[in-house]
């Protein structure tokens, strides 16, 4: 599903050049649930952003679902993002003046799905994350866990190939974190590929594979026995 070869990325910080990723080789198969771990500054978020086409790579190659991601201009990146990827952010990033339903329907709007169909689908995904009753509420009326579940429904709505989660539980207490992880595991059980960036050991252990990053290179890549979040809930 994801194939990354010899990926380099550096940022210019004034006159200094910060070499963040120093040659990453990394493959993800369909249906995997991979945790990317590392301390802050290890390059894990940068890697996720490149996979998410939110950021551009310097050298190396990146293939997503057989499509080489090269010569990415903004319009093309927008189309790929819409078609292939669903994002889950630490700070949820819901649009505050839109209701839960409208937030979930937004990626479908950019797919030019007609309004009626859009709302039906959005409600379907809200039901899936257990928030059908909250469809008409604004984000400000929802709890953190509920917001993240709306965000997950939104990420799913466009039926992407891969879900990318950047510290999805970073802003949540542990009980709520486990609930969110349980939802992500269920989504993975249905065959969706997931990439989860985290620095929390217990969250990482709820994935099926852990990739450890340190100073811009992969130092460990191992399969683990998945801990079911439902055990904690």
């Amino acid at each position: 599903m994801i194939a990354i070869k010899d990926l380099h990325k550096s940022y210019k910080m004034g006159s200094n050049v910060l070499h963040v990723l120093k040659g990453i080789n990394f493959n993800v198969e369909e249906g995997e649930m991979v945790a990317i771990m590392g301390s802050s500054g290890s390059g894990k978020s940068t890697l996720l952003n490149i996979v998410g086409m939110l950021d551009l790579l310097d050298t190396g190659s990146y293939t997503l679902d057989g499509v080489p991601i090269v010569n990415l201009n903004e319009t093309k990146a927008a189309k790929y993002r819409n078609k292939f990827l669903g994002f889950i952010f630490q700070s949820f990033n819901l649009i505050n003046y839109k209701t839960a339903l409208e937030n979930v329907a937004l990626p479908l709007y950019y797919q030019r799905v007609p309004k009626k169909e859009r709302d039906e689908k959005a409600l379907q995904y809200l039901t899936k994350v257990g928030l059908a009753n909250w469809a008409t509420h604004l984000p400000s009326e929802l709890s953190g866990g509920q917001k993240q579940r709306v965000a997950i429904a939104r990420a799913l709505a466009a039926q992407p190939k891969v879900l990318l989660a950047d510290e999805p539980t970073g802003a949540l207490d542990s009980t709520t974190s486990y609930e969110v992880m349980q939802l992500l595991q269920e989504i993975n059980d249905e065959g969706k590929t997931l990439l989860v960036v985290t620095h929390e050991e217990d969250i990482a252990n709820m994935c099926k594979r852990i990739v450890q990053l340190k100073d811009g290179i992969i130092i460990e890549d191992k399969k683990v026995n998945q801990v079911r979040a439902s055990e904690y809930v």
Partner: protein
């Protein structure tokens, strides 16, 4: 791009962000309201200015006799010059190319009586052309005609205020008034924009006046008009030739400045037009200033709006919005708001001018107006700049990588 879906998205954004919508709309509305009101008031000022200074026909010359200040051809200094009827006919004969019409004026003051009412007025012996030179407007009846002059009829045309003073609410037409012991039949009532004094006048045929005053042919002043197509330069040449002709005829020394006087309205006209031009310039300057202030206002608000929406733009881009769709969204929204607000401002401005109407006449603002073309142009300029002011930051925002926009707190 103009699908109903798109508009729904825009309406929602507008509805849910009332403060933002109000701010950008208000700037445009206020800008236009001020622009239209100021320009309208400026035009009103110009109107009353024109009314003050352009009451009489503008191609007119007044000729006054004076006293000589130099001895000439055996005549003494300080000789009084007297115009006579043959001056009229001589000018008509010698200057047919320049002359449009000519009329004498003989000013007299006297007691005018009707029944038991009497009052003192000035009455003027004139010929029919005087109506054109004074822009006298007939309210009822008729003005003097050539036959009246020829037959020396005892007819009088009285001013609106004379009728009001003497006749109260009655109709003066056909009644007889007594002016200095002679009865005249009122054949017309006039009004004049020159003010109350000019509406307290009585016009009678100059020949009648001469007949009553011991059958002389003396004339006070001569009023004449040159053909307007001569223009300013032509009028100057005419004035020069006329002066020379009259000085020769009355045997006044060629460089004697006080034998005859010619007052040429064209001279005043030139000054007046310059002053009027300055007024126009000031009005235009104020108008452009207001527009620029409006444009700056809307630009500021657009920059603020887009700054506020940076994060939202990042989210939308992460969800698959193309830069184009971001720019169109922001532009459509801003154009829609400015269009509505512009229309409201246009309407309000014109409404305010209508409300003012002639209420500010005491402050020299008469009939304030703005021509619709200018008002609409101003509206379009504001909308255009509102859009442009939105476009620049929108384009920049659409270019920001979503990750940067998302990080923006």
């Amino acid at each position: 791009m103009f699908s109903s879906d798109n508009w729904q998205e825009i309406f929602q954004t507008i509805k849910k962000n009332k403060l933002r919508t109000f701010l950008s709309g208000f700037t445009i509305t206020l800008g236009l309201l001020i622009f239209i009101t100021l320009l309208g008031l400026g035009n009103g000022l110009k109107n009353s200015f024109n009314q003050f200074f352009m009451d009489d026909a503008t191609n007119t010359m007044f000729i006054f006799p004076g006293r000589t200040s130099m001895p000439y051809k055996g005549y003494n200094v300080n000789r009084t010059i007297q115009f006579k009827n043959d001056d009229l006919t001589d000018i008509q004969k010698n200057f047919p190319f320049y002359l449009e019409y000519i009329t004498p004026r003989i000013f007299r003051n006297g007691t005018v009586t009707f029944n038991n009412e009497s009052n003192s007025y000035s009455y003027v012996g004139v010929s029919p052309a005087h109506q054109i030179s004074e822009k006298t407007i007939m309210m009822k009846g008729r003005y003097l005609n050539d036959l009246d002059v020829k037959e020396k009829t005892k007819y009088a045309v009285i001013g609106r205020l004379v009728e009001k003073d003497l006749f109260k609410d009655r109709n003066a037409l056909g009644e007889h008034v007594i002016i200095n012991n002679t009865a005249y039949k009122v054949i017309g009532v006039f009004q004049d924009e020159g003010g109350d004094n000019e509406e307290r006048r009585i016009y009678i045929p100059y020949t009648t006046l001469q007949l009553i005053e011991k059958n002389t042919d003396d004339i006070n002043q001569i009023v004449l008009a040159y053909k307007p197509e001569l223009g300013y330069a032509g009028a100057m040449i005419f004035e020069e030739k006329l002066t020379k002709f009259l000085k020769e005829k009355h045997e006044i020394a060629p460089d004697d400045q006080s034998g005859v006087f010619i007052r040429n309205i064209a001279d005043n006209m030139n000054d007046n037009q310059q002053l009027s031009g300055v007024l126009t310039l000031i009005v235009t300057f104020v108008g452009i200033g207001t527009l620029i202030a409006g444009v700056i206002g809307i630009s500021n608000i657009m920059v603020f709006v887009i700054k506020e929406r940076t994060k939202e733009i990042g989210v939308r881009k992460a969800l698959g919005a193309t830069p184009f769709s971001i720019i169109t969204m922001i532009l459509q929204e801003s154009i829609f708001i400015t269009l509505i607000a512009g229309y409201v401002g246009l309407f309000l401005g014109i409404f305010v001018l209508k409300m003012i109407g002639d209420k500010l006449e005491d402050y020299f603002i008469l009939n304030p107006y703005i021509d619709l073309g200018t008002a609409i142009t101003a509206t379009i300029i504001l909308i255009l700049f509102g859009a442009l002011a939105g476009y620049v930051p929108a384009k920049r925002a659409a270019k920001i990588q979503p990750i940067v926009a998302l990080r923006d707190e």
